[in-house]
Structures are given as structure tokens and as C-alpha cells.
Symmetry: C2
Subunit: 287 residues, 2 copies
């Protein structure tokens, strides 16, 4: 049954659904009849089974989106800026880092959680703009729409993970709302004016992210931050062992950031060479 099991009045609803039948029309706008409509559309999320035979418990991601992070990636790569735009991108990121360091100090768990709410914006904005462009111009995207949306989803999963080990306070929630409004619009504008600059900024942001996750690991190793067990969602998403810890999580997240760094510097380079992204096949599933 696809009936929303929200009220617990399941049996009654089922009888209603059977009676509702062919028209799908509720007799009135009341809540009771509307529940009938829900079943009428017959949408039932398929039961997903994990590899070990147990039921999949996450709705926000599915088994086929999980992966093993490639932690062997080179963490030290850096794009040395030469053009004016590259330097502007680097200094923008460096300028943003200073207040961030002051605000968070050594609270790396909180920092990770807060910054992931920002990190998930560029991929969504870029993917959306490329999607609209693909429609407007009757053109293929070369897979870049999906690649950028995948990045956004991956960053959102980082947030869903760090949420489990660090709870945002009310003023932090307020800051996140304000920062999202500003950053979304700024990135939207930047991407329209110069995608080459926008991707370069993200490339540098990811270089900084690698740096702060490395600091996070140092604090964990020193014992200043407690190395708690990894959240269940992280174990399922990155296919980690059941006794993985926060340290393992930070390591795979850092590897993700290094992959985003490569993708975004690569995207900027394509634009620097005078091409649109679709000129080069997108790195889909580059983890």
C-alpha cells in the first residue's frame, strides 16, 4: 500500500481507497478523503534490500549511490594562479578563510557541519544553469549537468553525516540561512558572468577544505576531539566497516573534497581553453 502511514488509521484508509476507486475525486477537501487520493496515485516506493539482505533504511540516498572513497588521491595538488581571474579567485577564498578561522577556532566538527551547508550550493547552481542552457540551446550537456548535481548531492551527504556528530545551535542556524542567501546569489551571478572564475573559486575552496580536514584529523589524533564511532549513515554511504570511527569519516570526506577540487579546476581549465564544458566528457562518478 502506498497510503501514507501517518495517522495509524490504516485499515480504515484501505477501505476508503478501495471505495474511492476510479475517479480519484475526494467528496470534499477534508483530510480523510485526501488520504484516499494518496493511495489512488498508487505510488509505492520499492522496498530496497541491502547486499547483506537487510532492508535499506535511508530514503535520502540509495545503495547504488554508495561508493568506496579513493583515499589514495593526491591531497597536495594546487593550481598556481597566473591570470588575474585566477588570482582574484584565490584571494577571494583566502579572504573568506580568515573570518572563518576566527569564528570556529579549533571546533572542527562544528566548522565542517557549517561549511558543508555552503559547499553543497555551487554544484546545484552550476548544474541548474547548465540544465537551463541545455534546454534553451537544444544542446547536449556532455554529462556536466549530472556531474555537478552529483557533487551537490555528495556535499549534502557530508552535511547529513556531520549533523550526526555536531548539533547546530539556534544562532548557527540563523547564520546558515543568511550565508546561504548571500552565497547562492553571489555564486549564481558569478556563474553567469564567468563560469571559469566560478569553478576556479570552488577549486580553491576545496583546497582549503582539504586543509581544514587535515587539521581536523590532527586534533583527533591529539585527542582534543573525541574519536567517536562513525554515524550509521556514513558507514552505509561510504561502504565503511561497521566499527569505523569519526577519523575514518573525516578521511573519506577529505578524499571527496580532493576529487571536487580536481573536477572544478578541470572545469575552469576547459573554459580557459575557450571551450564550453560540453567539449570534454564530464567525470561522472569520479570519487
Amino acid at each position: 500500500k502506498s497510503t501514507l502511514a501517518l495517522g495509524g488509521r490504516k485499515e480504515e484508509e484501505e477501505r476508503e481507497a478501495a471505495a474511492g476507486g476510479a475517479t480519484g475525486a475526494p467528496a470534499s477537501g477534508g483530510g480523510k478523503d485526501e488520504k484516499t487520493i494518496v493511495s489512488y496515485w498508487g505510488i509505492q516506493p520499492p522496498k530496497v534490500i541491502k547486499e547483506d539482505g537487510t532492508e535499506w533504511k535511508w530514503n535520502c540516498f540509495r545503495p547504488w549511490e554508495t561508493y568506496t572513497a579513493d583515499t589514495s588521491i593526491d591531497l597536495t595538488k594546487h593550481h598556481a594562479p597566473t591570470t588575474f581571474l585566477d588570482k582574484l579567485a584565490l584571494y577571494t577564498v583566502k579572504a573568506l578563510r580568515w573570518p572563518t578561522d576566527v569564528f570556529f577556532q579549533r571546533r572542527y566538527g562544528c566548522r565542517a557541519m557549517m561549511l558543508e551547508t555552503v559547499a553543497a550550493v555551487p554544484g546545484m547552481v552550476g548544474g541548474m544553469l547548465l540544465h537551463c542552457k541545455s534546454l534553451r540551446r537544444f544542446e547536449h550537456s556532455g554529462g556536466w549537468i549530472r556531474a555537478l548535481l552529483e557533487e551537490a548531492e555528495n556535499e549534502r551527504m557530508h552535511l547529513m553525516t556531520f549533523m550526526e556528530v555536531s548539533q547546530p545551535r539556534w544562532y548557527e542556524r540563523a547564520i546558515v540561512v543568511a550565508v546561504q542567501v548571500v552565497f547562492f546569489n553571489a555564486y549564481f551571478l558569478a556563474y553567469i558572468l564567468s563560469p571559469k572564475f566560478a569553478h576556479r573559486v570552488v577549486g580553491y575552496l576545496e583546497e582549503e577544505a582539504i586543509h581544514s580536514y587535515t587539521e581536523f584529523l590532527k586534533e583527533l589524533d591529539k585527542g582534543n576531539i573525541k574519536n567517536v564511532p562513525a554515524p550509521a549513515i556514513a558507514i552505509d554511504y561510504w561502504r565503511m566497516s561497521p566499527n569505523a570511527t569519526l577519523r575514518d569519516v573525516v578521511e573519506v570526506v577529505r578524499a571527496d573534497e580532493a576529487h571536487h577540487r580536481d573536477v572544478n579546476h578541470f572545469a575552469s581549465d576547459i573554459h580557459y581553453q575557450g571551450h564550453e564544458l560540453k567539449a570534454a566528457p564530464a567525470p561522472i562518478g569520479y570519487h
Copy 2:
């Protein structure tokens, strides 16, 4: 090699890449050095092999996104409007249909192509807004972000398919740009003000889409529109037989629209019951 093979000067680039090494810094802003950077990031799209062993030729979608359309879906389902908002949604759609009919007359191929550029907008807008909300509120999405983005990608694939059988003229391209700007903003605003109304509108739009694809099929059967072979992209995307025709394509596209209809009416119903979408698991992969 991930070097962009755009200039054909591959060997020289490889030597440069080997020399460029550890810093990734181009000596100047010239095009030659920038090609070196591209290889430096080491991103190489994996070679994807089709089930039959041949190389996958599409960058804009991958084998694991293909599916067999469920053409057995009930095409006649209709949500009978009872509330004011539902009626407003239905009359909005009916009002939009009249100028569309006048403009396109019986040119269903052209109509399909043009309307798919609009159809791919709501899923992207809804998915983006839910993504931003999920980040702002530190909340799971219940899979709805992905479900709506999947709808947008599916609609974009409809466009990529109809593009192959119908070429847009210059004034049609101009119309698409204008319509996209207006519709994107209107839907964005509607989704912020009332997602229940926005999803209902899409539900009704999909009901109309089913109707026009049925008319398209009738014209094909009458021989007024030539039943050309199905485009290669459609055969790969919907896993159709190599000798499938335009008629088969229109049938599977119509089935897709019926699935979108269900998903969007369902989403609207969830809101009518006073819940957010995440209260019900999203129908991921509902084809």
C-alpha cells in the same frame, strides 16, 4: 590520458604534462600551457562499455540511467479538483493550452520538442529548492530532491530525443528563451509560495501532455506524420529494439509523462495533508 584532444597535438602535450609536474602552474596564460594543466588534474572519464560489448557513445547519460518504460500505466487517471487551489491549477493549465493549440496546430513533433524545453524546468526548480531547504534546516529530504531532479533529467532526455526528429527554427529558439525566463521565474515563485499548488499544476500539465502525445500517435497512425525510425539516442535510453520507430518513442514518452503526473499529484497530496514531502519516501526510479 585525460588531455582534451581538441588540437590534435597530443604527443607534445604529453611531454609538457610530464614536465609540468608538481606545481601545476602554467608558465604563462597561453593556450598551450593551459592544456598542460588539463592533463595535470588527471581527470579521465572512464570508458563505459555497453551490455553488448560496444563502447557507450553518449556523454549526457550513462547505461545505468536507461530503463524500459512501463507502458502499461493507466493513461486516463485524472485528479478531480475540489479545492480553490486545485481549480486554479487546472484552469491555469487549460488557459495555457489554448494558445499552444493555436500556435502548433497539428505539428506534434515540433510541439513535443518545444514543450519539453518547458517540461524540464519544474523538476529542476523543485529539486533545487528542496536541496537548499535541506541544507538550511539540517534535514533529510526523504529522497525527493533526487526524485525531482530525475524528473528534470528525464524531461531533458525527451528534448534530446525530439531534437533528432524536428529542428527548431530561429524564431522558435527565441520563443524558447523567452518562455524559459518567464516560466522558470513563475514556477520558482509558485513553489516558494505554495508547493502544493506548484506540484498540482505540473500534475495537470502532465495530463495535458498525455493527451497531446495521444493525438501525436493518432496522426502517426493516420499517416499525416511520417513514422520515421527512432533516433539512436532514444533506442539506447529506453532500451528499445534497434528497429523501433517514432511511434514507439512517442508511446514510451507518454508513459513517462503518466509517471510524472502520478508523482506530482502525489506530492501535492502530501502537502494537502499538511506534511512536507519528506514525510513520505520519494518514488525514486518510478518509470
